[in-house]
């Protein structure tokens, strides 16, 4: 009994309630004609697609820069990497690797500038970050048209210049991770082993980083910047590093997303990507300056699980195609809930 109570306290009521709700959806599913195996498979795929972008929240939370509402900036670095990989005609798994390689310098550059800005606005990072995200998306809307891309699969057919709004990754890095060591149980359950492994690798690297001297310093800066300064830490440097890491993870995250989703979405694509990731980590139990890898895993699974299951179950129950509407209601509802959950720290 005591153990149970302790478990509930450490795991947190919100997660237990959401978990039970998700479980009940899985139980109802067969009765309304939704296949549990397909749904489960979908949930796992979506978990893999979004996991790294949620992970991109962790470094900035640890260094006290708050939730990374500027995720679109990292995503843009990823988009640049992805399109460059295609432009230079890398195909298959190599293209995925090259996309990461190409996006890295952009992520470092953007992250550096972004952190310079955030270091000037300590205390109101999240508001500024939101607008960094928004304005960078708007700026790139122009750049996607102007950048001298030439590859025929990516540019507008009639004009020959300017990138299309959506670009297929087929033939490039579509499903390179999803299909790696993939296995099926029955006809409808598919497990994307490669994708989950890649997420696990990223999570492991993040976990390992937080156990190094620098990672420890990062956590301390987030916990009490004055303490860190009095312990000889250069706060601005640590924050810069965290922002660069977050931005780079955002870039890798969107590439993960694209390899599973099948399309590179440019222009307004990155605009709304930050909020689901922010919500997922908050639902996972993170606060504005504390987050663990477990928060990422639990949060992403619950958020994506609800997002997959609610529309399909509800849809089958009311026999009308409203899945998109329900999906929007549920995802924004979860975001709203999650943002009310953010807890402050003791000072």
């Amino acid at each position: 009994m005591n153990n149970l109570r302790q478990f509930i306290r450490s795991f947190g009521w919100p997660r237990i309630i959401i978990g039970l709700f998700l479980l009940s959806l899985f139980i109802i599913a067969p009765f309304v004609g939704v296949k549990v195996s397909t749904s489960l498979s979908d949930t796992i795929v979506r978990f893999g697609m979004n996991g790294v972008m949620v992970l991109a929240m962790v470094p900035m939370i640890h260094s006290g820069c708050g939730l990374n509402f500027g995720l679109p900036l990292g995503i843009i670095a990823g988009l640049l990497g992805g399109t460059l990989a295609i432009e230079y005609n890398f195909v298959g798994p190599v293209s995925f690797l090259m996309a990461i390689v190409f996006s890295t310098p952009f992520a470092i550059l953007f992250g550096f500038g972004y952190s310079k800005l955030l270091n000037k606005v300590k205390g109101s990072e999240m508001m500024i970050a939101t607008y960094v995200g928004f304005s960078s998306v708007a700026f790139m809307c122009i750049m996607w048209l102007l950048l001298p891309y030439k590859h025929p699969t990516m540019v507008w057919g009639y004009a020959g210049t300017g990138l299309r709004t959506t670009i297929s990754t087929e033939g490039y890095y579509l499903h390179v991770l999803t299909n790696f060591l993939q296995f099926k149980i029955g006809k409808t359950f598919m497990f994307p082993t490669g994708m989950i492994l890649f997420f696990a690798l990223m999570a492991l690297l993040m976990w390992a980083f937080l156990h190094t001297k620098r990672g420890t310093a990062m956590t301390a800066v987030g916990s009490n910047p004055v303490f860190a300064r009095a312990s000889g830490i250069n706060i601005d440097k640590v924050r810069t590093l965290s922002v660069i890491l977050s931005t780079w993870l955002g870039a890798v995250g969107i590439l993960m997303y694209q390899q599973s989703f099948g399309f590179i979405q440019l222009y307004m694509g990155p605009f709304y990507m930050a909020l689901p990731a922010v919500s997922a980590i908050l639902i996972g139990g993170a606060s504005v300056n504390k987050a663990s890898i477990l928060n990422v895993v639990v949060g992403t699974f619950l958020f994506q699980g609800i997002l997959t299951m609610t529309p399909s179950v509800m849809n089958s129950m009311i026999h009308t195609d409203m899945s998109e509407v329900i999906r929007i209601i549920v995802s924004n509802g979860m975001i709203l809930y999650a943002l009310t959950r953010k807890s402050e720290v003791t000072r």
Partner: protein, 536 residues
């Protein structure tokens, strides 16, 4: 002076404790119509608590009330809130201004007590829609200000006034209350220039002549002697002396304030200054720390000694270590072990082999949301690369949890830190144990020189002596030089070899710690105008 009738205010046997900490014991005093009573004492002597009780502040209620009796004009009262006190004609001028900066002096003076006039809307909807009677407001404010004998433009916005005028505005607000009988002034001259102060003192005398009883709290003893009829000296929550101000000297008051005739500390040691080298020399240090400005401090600290730095609050003693560490902008020269220390860089200070235990435990000293082992090991890990496992030629430095736990347990045992385990969060510990964590953090750095700032602030007597003992032991065992800053002279005298006193941002003197307390008291108030015979 003989007063007629019952006293306006009488306090009988007031006792108050905060969480088992006795802060007031059997305080009795009486105040008559037209009397000016000077209340003096060191920081923490209980003056503010006493005034809070008088003014019915809710902090008193929240911490369990007080015992004893308070009589206003012979009538027993027990205030539930400050509103009751105000209704009974008690006015208080706080040390910190409580004024609305964007309002004019008039508006501030009469806030919520403005004269009204009826208007069409108020005829219909009731008096909450009355208009302010601007004309009589200005008149009332003018009268209140003129009682003070100063000229302040009552239409001026408070935010753009010089400090002195703010202080006058605040006093004028209290005077504009018709029923005012008792006026408490908490260090009203601290922010004033000499000229303004003398105007204020004159005004205070005039007010007393009009029959208002005044309690005047100040650290400037000459003022107290000049203006007050009676002087009450408090120390450690007790009234130690109530004297007529006639024939009092600053030296006498200083001695009463600082108190207890030298209790010989059994373990006093003779420090050999001639044969120990200087380890740290500070020359012309200035530090821009708000509220604790250091103007010009020069100091030589010998290897292995314990040097105390004392002085009254706000005089700059805290600025010395904070500036040396680089937490606040500083200038001057600091030479540690023969090498010049770059200023304004906390890292350089730590790398040189010094450490600092801040007076601001919760803000600077601790990671409140992290476990004890982190708190203890963090600084040493970052500065000295302790408790780390190295891989790839030191390229990868991994936290060594085992070592961290080991050192945490070591200090928890050595300093008798009360906690459930080393994984407990720092915010869950009591003040005394938090302080020990801060010490452990500094000890883990194994510094050759340690600054400790207000190590016993806010902790109870039992924990105090443990903390002081820990410092003394550390000094003796490892030979670490310690510079301890404290506002409690007694505690400095208990463990220090020498004590430097800071007043007005400068060192006014350094004395061996067994010098008579009177001498320290004089140094603390040095820099204040004194008449010639007292120097003799």
């Amino acid at each position: 002076m003989a007063y007629q009738g019952p006293p306006v205010l009488e306090l009988r046997n007031i006792c108050k404790e905060y969480f088992g900490n006795q802060v007031l014991t059997d305080v009795s005093l009486s105040l008559h119509k037209g009397e000016i009573l000077g209340l003096v004492g060191e920081n923490g002597a209980g003056k503010s608590t006493l005034m809070n009780i008088l003014f019915g502040m809710d902090v008193i209620q929240r911490t369990g009330g007080y015992s004893g009796e308070m009589l206003i004009e012979g009538k027993l009262v027990k205030y539930q809130s400050s509103f009751d006190a105000i209704a009974d004609g008690i006015g208080m001028v706080h040390q910190e201004f409580s004024l609305l900066p964007d309002f004019s002096a008039t508006e501030n003076i009469l806030l919520n007590r403005e004269p009204h006039k009826r208007s069409f809307a108020s005829e219909v909807f009731g008096e909450r829609l009355d208009l302010l009677d601007r004309k009589s407001m200005v008149e009332k404010a003018r009268i209140a200000i003129s009682k003070l004998g100063v000229s302040i433009d009552s239409a001026m916005i408070v935010g753009s006034m010089p400090v002195g005028h703010k202080q006058f505005t605040e006093i004028a607000r209290e005077l504009s209350k018709d029923s005012i009988r008792i006026l408490v002034l908490d260090e009203p001259t601290a922010v004033l220039t000499e000229q303004e102060a003398s105007i204020l003192l004159e005004a205070i005398k005039n007010l007393a002549a009009e029959g208002i009883a005044i309690i005047f709290i100040s650290h400037r003893l000459q003022e107290v002697i000049d203006v007050c009829d009676t002087v009450v000296v408090m120390r450690d929550g007790k009234v130690v002396r109530t004297e007529s101000s006639k024939d009092l000297t600053i030296a006498q008051i200083a001695r009463w304030m600082v108190g207890r005739e030298v209790t010989q500390h059994a373990d006093r040691r003779q420090f050999d200054y001639d044969n120990t080298p200087t380890v740290l020399s500070i020359r012309n240090l200035w530090v821009d720390m708000p509220g604790e400005t250091v103007r010009d401090v020069s100091l030589d600290i010998h290897k292995g000694e314990i040097l105390g730095i004392g002085g009254l609050a706000g005089q700059g003693k805290l600025g010395v270590p904070n500036g040396a560490m680089g937490l606040f902008p500083a200038g001057g020269t600091i030479i540690f072990e023969g090498k010049r220390l770059p200023l304004n860089q906390p890292r350089a200070f730590l790398d040189a082999g010094m450490a600092f235990v801040s007076e601001d435990r919760r803000g600077v000293g601790l990671l409140l949301d992290e476990s004890l082992d982190w708190n203890i090991s963090f600084a040493a890990m970052q500065v000295n690369n302790k408790y780390l496992k190295r891989y790839l030629n030191g390229l990868l430095m991994w936290r060594d949890e085992k070592e961290i736990q080991k050192v945490a347990l070591e200090y928890i045992n050595a300093l008798e830190i009360k906690c459930t385990s080393y994984k407990q969060k720092a915010k869950e510990l009591s003040g005394g144990n938090q302080q020990k964590i801060c010490l452990a953090k500094a000890f883990a750095l194994s510094p050759r020189l340690l600054f400790v700032s207000e190590p016993t602030r806010g902790i109870d007597i039992g924990a105090k002596s443990l903390v002081l003992q820990a410092l003394r032991d550390y000094n003796e065992k490892s030979g670490t030089t310690i510079v301890m800053i404290s506002s409690e002279l007694e505690e400095l005298r208990a463990i220090c070899d020498r004590i430097a006193i800071v007043a007005d941002g400068r060192i006014t003197g350094i004395l061996p710690s067994d010098s008579p307390s009177e001498d320290f008291g004089l140094l603390m108030v040095a820099g204040q105008p004194m008449s010639m015979e007292e120097h003799a």
